[in-house]
């Protein structure tokens, strides 16, 4: 082996070593949480989270799921789980569809001021929730639906609209114009072209959008806390309540189990869909 080749080999080893160390930085917090959640209640009294469980068991998981206490009730995160599901499904479906139609309208139809609209949407995507919280609260309570399931669904749709619209708009703008023109000559109208030409070609972007919205809505805390109402609190809110209720001994095994249960759905989606997830996050991030 020549000097150059040996140096290259050392460089390679150093490179992969560094990568492995950094991967440890990313994985250890999760591994530690998993390990803690498998510990028994005795082990958790005075311990370090960096130790492995001596007798791993899922008791903590069962307790976290069904009987952990949030200070208001002791029903575990199961309550939150189903609440999150009930919030998630209508929110995702409607916001994705609304975004798709909006993006479609802005890309293939000559709308005067389309560029202005897109710029306005882009600004909306950057506005922090906190700035428009109070007006929304006031408006919903005036209408009378504040603190309810329809309220939180509506809120998620409102907050998802700019990003979804821009996401779909950019995608549809990349599709050839001839498709729409040919369909128009054939006599199809706005909605028919959407249903029969655009949607069939949108499978990829629909998956990406759905993943983006699902992850965002499932992981949301602030909006759920404020708009969902006591009976519809999402899992993240339940989790925080459980983990910060400090009556007596802190049951870290239960808290970590609850955290894992909350993190599991988006994590599973991530592991299953890999490429789509990445595309969604980067597309949602690099808007336009």
């Amino acid at each position: 082996m020549t000097v150059a080749q040996r140096n290259a080999r050392i460089g390679r080893i150093g490179l992969y070593t560094l990568l492995v160390w950094i991967c440890l930085f990313f994985s250890i917090p999760l591994l530690v949480v998993i390990a803690t959640s498998l510990k028994s209640s005795d082990e958790v009294r005075t311990f370090s989270i960096f130790t492995l469980p001596s007798a791993p068991g899922i008791d903590a998981w069962i307790k976290a799921w069904s009987s952990a206490c949030t200070g208001l009730n002791c029903g575990g995160v199961r309550v939150g789980f189903w609440n999150s599901v009930r919030i998630l499904i209508p929110s995702v479906i409607i916001s994705v569809m609304a975004g798709a139609v909006t993006g479609y309208a802005l890309s293939h139809w000559r709308i005067r001021g389309a560029n202005v609209i897109m710029l306005l949407l882009l600004f909306c995507a950057f506005i922090p929730y906190q700035v428009i919280l109070y007006p929304l609260v006031k408006t919903f309570s005036t209408i009378g639906i504040y603190s309810s399931l329809p309220c939180i669904v509506a809120v998620h749709i409102v907050f998802g609209l700019p990003v979804m619209s821009l996401l779909f708009r950019n995608f549809y703008a990349g599709l050839p114009e001839e498709l729409v023109k040919a369909a128009r000559i054939d006599g199809a109208g706005f909605w028919r072209i959407f249903a029969f030409v655009m949607l069939p070609m949108s499978v990829n972007i629909l998956i990406v959008a759905t993943i983006l919205q699902t992850t965002g809505i499932w992981n949301d805390y602030l909006l759920g806390l404020i708009f969902a109402g006591r009976d519809n609190m999402p899992m993240t809110v339940q989790l925080n309540a459980i983990a910060t209720t400090s009556t007596g001994v802190i049951e870290y095994n239960v808290n970590t189990a609850a955290a894992l249960l909350t993190a599991l759905p988006p994590l599973l989606i991530y592991f299953v869909s890999g490429r789509y997830f990445v595309r969604g996050i980067t597309a949602g991030a690099v808007k336009g």
Binding site: F26, F126, Y129, V131, I132
Partner: protein, 311 residues
């Protein structure tokens, strides 16, 4: 006598030209109608709300909105409030460290993966999974990891260094820095993915030219490749900065603003004052300052982006 659509309105279906013209206008109308809900939402929920909030911030509101104009009185009170001073200052401290750390790690990882040939899929999967985890879980996890009683300090002491101290999360003047760990952990993967795509888009002949000139690899990245990706890096900075301004979930889960208010951030300040403290005036003023910060970051960015694309 020739038959033409315009002369026989009853038979306008006969000639194609007017029919297409009319149908075009109809279809275009459908598109405009389809946009109306979105436009309504945008104008009322976003721009309307923003205007409302800004207006309240200039009134003498306290518990309930009182629409008596008060100029900048709310802002003066706001910036005289110690808790806000801490929160606002924290935003810059946290922001600067988070941006430098996340950007630095993200770019480093992108470069490493650009060089590495094997196992890229595995590495990417490990680096990106934190993005799928909510800020609540992220915050709780790092709270546990950095806790002196059960976390890192405990571990090191167990290993033998019994005098080791790492209790930043319980120290008022250090607590804000702990948020940086969580922030970097959560978002570096995203920056890595964006920058890696950018690195891969660079013309490979530039690499060959640099190699022939004898320019070492690290120097090529620093002096040639990364400067070429400046617009992308700016985009990344903007993204991280916006996330910092919006932060709420992370603070709540990790330190809940504590100890005391030492790790408070504007995002949490606004929500606390709006609901717990029920001081609409102060909350609106704080929210408007948040909005101003975002605009200060985004406007020049968008302006330069548009200028660049139009060139």
């Amino acid at each position: 006598m020739t038959i033409s659509g315009s002369r026989l309105p009853a038979a306008e279906g006969v000639s194609t030209a007017p029919r297409i013209g009319r149908a075009y206008r109809v279809r275009s109308l459908a598109a405009k109608l389809a946009l109306v809900p979105t436009l309504l939402v945008m104008l009322s929920c976003y721009y309307g709300s923003v205007t409302w909030t800004v207006y309240i911030s200039m009134t003498r509101s306290f518990l309930l909105p009182v629409y008596k104009f008060a100029g900048t009185a709310q802002y003066e009170r706001l910036f005289a409030t110690p808790r806000w001073q801490v929160a606002y200052g924290n935003m810059f401290v946290f922001g600067a460290l988070d941006i430098i750390g996340t950007l630095g790690l993200g770019i480093l990882l992108a470069i490493l993966l650009d060089r590495a040939v094997r196992f890229e899929g595995v590495f990417r999967t490990i680096m990106l999974y934190p993005l799928s985890i909510s800020f609540i879980v992220t915050g709780l996890t790092w709270q546990w990891v950095l806790s002196p009683t059960i976390g890192f300090q405990h571990l090191v002491r167990d290993l033998g260094w019994t005098d080791f101290v790492f209790d930043w999360i319980t120290q008022p003047d250090r607590a804000i820095y702990t948020l940086v760990f969580a922030g970097i952990w959560h978002q570096s993967g995203l920056i890595m993915a964006i920058m890696l795509a950018g690195l891969r888009g660079v013309d490979r002949e530039i690499w060959r030219a640099a190699r022939i000139e004898g320019i070492p690899t690290w120097r090529t990245y620093v002096s040639i490749i990364l400067p070429m990706l400046r617009p992308l890096i700016v985009t990344c900075v903007v993204l991280i900065a916006i996330a910092v301004v919006k932060s709420y979930d992370l603070v709540v889960a990790m330190t809940n603003g504590g100890p005391g208010f030492s790790s408070d951030l504007p995002g949490k300040f606004v929500v606390d004052f709006e609901f717990e403290r029920a001081n609409i005036g102060q909350a609106s003023a704080a929210a408007t300052v948040m909005l101003g910060s975002v605009l200060a970051i985004v406007s020049p960015y968008l302006y330069f982006e548009l200028a660049r694309k139009n060139r």
